[in-house]
């Protein structure tokens, strides 16, 4: 094999020289390390204007000012820098939004914080430039118009009018299309920029109109330029509206598709899952899986995007679903009334413990019934297991004694454990906001406060 010989030769030649030939390999390694460490070419989301310079500087490992200077210098050479800048702007992607950046945490919604934030007031710079151009042009019109020098100097005005109109339009467009999404600026900023720019264009227009007698038809046609500019400044609103409208339509279509899919899944998959459950026997592995899947699917189908409010019933339902996965048990959670009890409270903790006990020691069918109103909540957890007597439980078993009975007693509620009719165990937890036999006036007052807290939670 002739092809392998050079490689082995090289290895053989390198081997004796390792001691003194260490410099070149080390240099190679460090070079390789640098390319590996080099950050990808991405535009940072916290940037001055577009993030091109900062991203490029980070990628090349050079200071930002140097990159900016290079762009300016290249621009002087036949606009090369500007073209390169624009090219990079279009093709270099934003970096991934970081969820835990301080800016993201401060921002209200996650969607807003995803938008890049630009520190340079580009819209204001453009506005200022436009205003300056307007001033120069108006000065020109006033001076030359007054002196009767009209036709020959029109090209100068052309330049001035076109430049100021162009700058004004780009300021408006930037404010609408770019700054509006910026968490640091927003719609108010956009409106102010647009007003200032319009004012400048109106001044320009008035100056042109006042000089109309001297400039004649050409001047009249020329007055259309700032008018078109004003129209363009406001047309960017339309572009934005249109964007919004498209987004809205896409969302609606998606919602419709989802509803259609839900109807279909309901008629096919849910039916099949139900069938699997009753053919496989209530507490078999297959039935449990099917039931868990059914629950999950139904939650997805019907709860939609609305976040489940964490009331007691919802919380216990979720917990039941989790238990069904871990234990051979089928838990039916039924609720009536609107318990004022919060999901994080002691009653919820004790109920969960009771459900866990039932799942672990009894299995089979477990019924959970929650009934509550503003002043009291009752939770019944019933299983059909072998049952037990409270006296028979050794003192070191903390589940029942501490987590259920003790917890409820400390919270000011009651808990009773008893044998249900027809076997099994039933745990009854009761928590009343009002004491069992209160003096009438205080009971009324307390019920009223309970009502107001509920109102507050809803609002």
């Amino acid at each position: 094999m002739p092809s392998t010989t050079p490689a082995t030769d090289a290895a053989g030649a390198a081997a004796p020289h390792t001691a003194d030939a260490s410099a070149p390999p080390r240099g190679e390694a460090s070079a390789a390390g640098r390319t590996a460490e080099r950050p990808p070419l991405r535009r940072p989301r916290d940037c001055a204007v577009s993030g091109v310079s900062a991203g490029l500087a980070r990628h090349l490992g050079r200071p930002v000012w140097l990159v900016r200077a290079a762009f300016v210098a290249l621009t002087l050479v036949g606009l090369g820098g500007a073209l390169l800048y624009a090219w990079l702007w279009v093709f270099v992607p934003w970096e991934e939004p970081s969820r835990d950046a301080p800016g993201a945490r401060e921002a209200e919604g996650a969607r807003v914080s995803d938008e890049p934030s630009r520190s340079a007031p580009v819209a204001w710079i453009l506005t200022g430039a436009s205003a300056a151009a307007v001033l120069l042009t108006v000065a020109g019109i006033v001076l030359f118009g007054a002196n009767g020098v009209v036709w020959s100097s029109l090209p100068v005005w052309v330049g001035g009018v076109v430049a100021s109109t162009g700058l004004a339009v780009s300021a408006g467009a930037w404010a609408t299309l770019v700054d509006r999404r910026d968490p640091a600026r927003g719609p108010r900023h956009e409106n102010v920029v647009r007003l200032v720019v319009t004012a400048a264009l109106v001044v320009l227009l008035l100056a042109q109109l006042s000089a109309l007698r001297q400039t004649g038809v050409a001047g009249f046609l020329f007055a259309l330029v700032p008018i078109a500019g004003i129209v363009l400044v406001y047309s960017s609103i339309l572009v934005d509206r249109w964007r919004e409208l498209t987004g809205e339509r896409i969302r609606r279509i998606r919602e419709e598709q989802r509803a259609e899919m839900a109807a279909h899944l309901h008629d096919s998959v849910l039916q099949t899952l139900a069938l699997i459950q009753n053919r496989a026997g209530a507490s078999s592995e297959v039935a449990r899986l099917a039931r868990a899947q059914e629950r999950e699917l139904r939650a997805w189908l019907y709860d939609g995007d609305a976040p489940a409010d964490s009331d007691l019933a919802t919380d216990l339902r979720d917990y039941a679903a989790a238990l069904e996965l871990d234990y051979p048990v089928r838990i039916d959670v039924v609720s009536a009334g609107l318990p004022a009890e919060r999901a994080s409270g002691e009653v919820a903790a004790a109920s969960r413990e009771a459900m866990l006990n039932a799942a672990r020691h009894a299995g089979g069918d477990v019924s959970v019934y929650i009934e509550g109103n503003a002043s009291a909540v009752d939770v019944y957890v019933r299983d059909r297991g072998p049952g037990f007597d409270l006296e028979d439980i050794p003192d070191d078993r903390l589940g029942i004694r501490q987590s259920i009975l003790g917890r409820m007693r400390r919270a000011g509620g009651t808990a009773t454990v008893r044998r249900g009719a027809g076997g099994g165990t039933e745990v009854h937890l009761r928590f009343a906001a009002t004491p069992a036999s209160p003096p009438p006036p205080s009971a009324g007052a307390r019920a009223a406060t309970a009502d107001t807290t509920r109102e507050g939670r809803r609002g």
């Binding site: 109807a263 139900a274 069938l275 009934e371």
Partner: protein
Amino acid sequence: MAETVVRVVIVDDHSIFRSGLRADLDPSIEVVGEAADAASAVAVIEATAPDVVLLDVHLPAASGATSGPDAAGGEAVIRGASPAVPATRFLALSVSDAAEDVVRVIRAGARGYITKGSSGAEVSRAVHAVADGDAVFSPRLAGFVLDAFGAAVGETATTSDELDRLSSREQEVMRLIARGYAYKEVAAELFISMKTVESHVSAVLRKLQLSSRYELTAWASARRLL
């Protein structure tokens, strides 16, 4: 079960489910007919005059129509068939459909409602109960009744002919059913006879069918029964 054979018609638009249910049912239950949509269901029921109809809550009006907002549902079957066969009783069967559908079916005249997740033995038991003229309440339906009739906030009927509230005894029975007690256990718990429990449940069913309580539909559509 040493009861007489109950003749049953299964109405469900899923053939897999129909055959599954058929295989699971007790030998004391004879399936005399099947139907997949509301129109053919009425025809089959009128032709066979069964004791009990197991009725899916969601049904297409006629074969070919997809079940959707325009689906006629089990309600149409009950209204269409019951004048011709007054002795036939209906038992609603549902895979956890929206509460308003269940309530509508019950108000149309179904004698009870069970979920499709129930085992063959449970369905058979329910069929026998309905055939004997009893009402079948699942824990969920009992919870719904307690909620919809304001029992949870302490509304109690004072006279026996009041339709919009439950008597305290009816509330007790409903609560025990919601807690997962079988009728027999309810009877033992309250020291009353099975017949009394059944008459209470039937009374509640009648109220559910006749009551004009606005919460019944409002509640059902605002929250999902299942």
